[in-house]
Symmetry: C2
Subunit: 222 residues, 2 copies
């Protein structure tokens, strides 16, 4: 099933030590020293959140929430956010950081309610998955949830965002997710989260369609 390991593989790689070089309020930046498969010591710049709860493998949860209503098409619920790091707006799954003592499921359902107003039911939960492992140790659990849109609690959903959180709730029909996300992001100039895009892309691919046709050779410049 797999290629041979060894010096061209990953055996022998191990953590040696880490030195914090900058301590922020929400983030810390460290220089990690590790050993490569040749026994050589190397360093890597590493970002960590200061907010991960003690003993938790995950920083937070993201919710793939599908709104189901009688006589309506199923819709995926996404949120548009202003993201200072991007200097712009993004299209993301409802998501957030786990509070201490909170289960991943509780975190997912709480974030869904806070950000969108909807009450959902958890269908599945992934293990902690990494967000950008070349850069940080940040992880998230991917939670799928269903929203019963005919339930009285979901008829006039009212978001309760946290202090400093500003969001717009968006609905995309599951049957043409890729097309609608592409159209919306192009029209509004929002950047799509890579997990959202991958989800739409895989659903598209499962129908035997190519996700995005683009002429080869084009440079993705501004």
């Amino acid at each position: 099933m797999m290629a041979s390991d060894g010096v061209n593989g990953t055996q022998g790689c191990r953590f040696i030590k880490e030195e914090t070089v900058y301590q922020g309020e929400w983030l810390s930046l460290g220089v990690t020293t590790y050993q490569d498969p040749h026994g050589q010591h190397r360093t890597w710049e590493t970002v960590r959140r200061t907010t991960r709860c003690d003993g938790y493998k995950t920083d937070g949860a993201a919710v793939v929430a599908v709104l189901k209503r009688a006589l309506h098409y199923d819709q995926l619920i996404l949120v548009q956010q202003y993201r200072p790091a991007i200097n712009g707006f993004t299209l993301e799954f409802p998501a957030g950081l786990c509070d201490a003592g909170e289960t991943v499921e509780d975190c997912a359902i709480r974030e869904l309610r806070e950000e969108t107003g909807y009450t959902g039911q958890v269908i599945s939960v992934s293990p902690a998955t990494c967000m950008d492992a070349g850069l940080s140790n940040c992880t998230t659990c991917l939670v799928t949830a269903q929203i019963d849109g005919d339930d009285i609690v979901n008829v006039r959903p009212k978001p309760h965002p946290e202090e400093g959180e500003f969001l717009k709730v968006l609905y995309f029909p599951m049957s043409e997710l890729m097309t609608r996300i592409n159209d919306y992001s192009k029209k509004e100039g929002v950047i799509v989260d890579s997990r959202v895009y991958m989800y739409a892309m895989a659903l598209q691919q499962s129908k035997g369609k190519d996700p995005v046709q683009r002429s080869p050779g084009r440079i993705d410049k501004k």
Copy 2:
């Protein structure tokens, strides 16, 4: 199609200024000041890579590469890497940063060849998508590619990793991707990249199957 915007939405959010508080070799940490929809000034800690090519919207590319061979099941090619930030091993798509002047497609095909030895053909390319927008401005383009495993160039693929890059190439049958990725990551203790997991999850969901059944209430602790 969408909820109303305004003070509960995102209108009025805008960038004010950014101050670099730590300059590393590969990363920089800034404090971004922005205006919220109430006109209030707020700050955010923001990570950026120092390596993004001038004028590029994306830091790099990740390749969803499917190996196709006569009389074999289609297989997804993934790489296992030691990641100092994680203090452990990850399962990721072949991926890397764009070189100056390089197209996203060229970057994807080059990284695929370097990391796995395979020569692939680009099928589709996404716009720049964000990796972890609450934390960084990092983006990637998601490239789908096919590998003709019967082509002579792909018969005995030999990876050519860059200096300091140590990888193991892994093959997962597309027909049971989710199950095999779950089994492998559990057995080997590797953390799955969130985009890889989302891809497998969506393909599973498209078959009408729940991705991971788990008893609710379980806390995802170590």
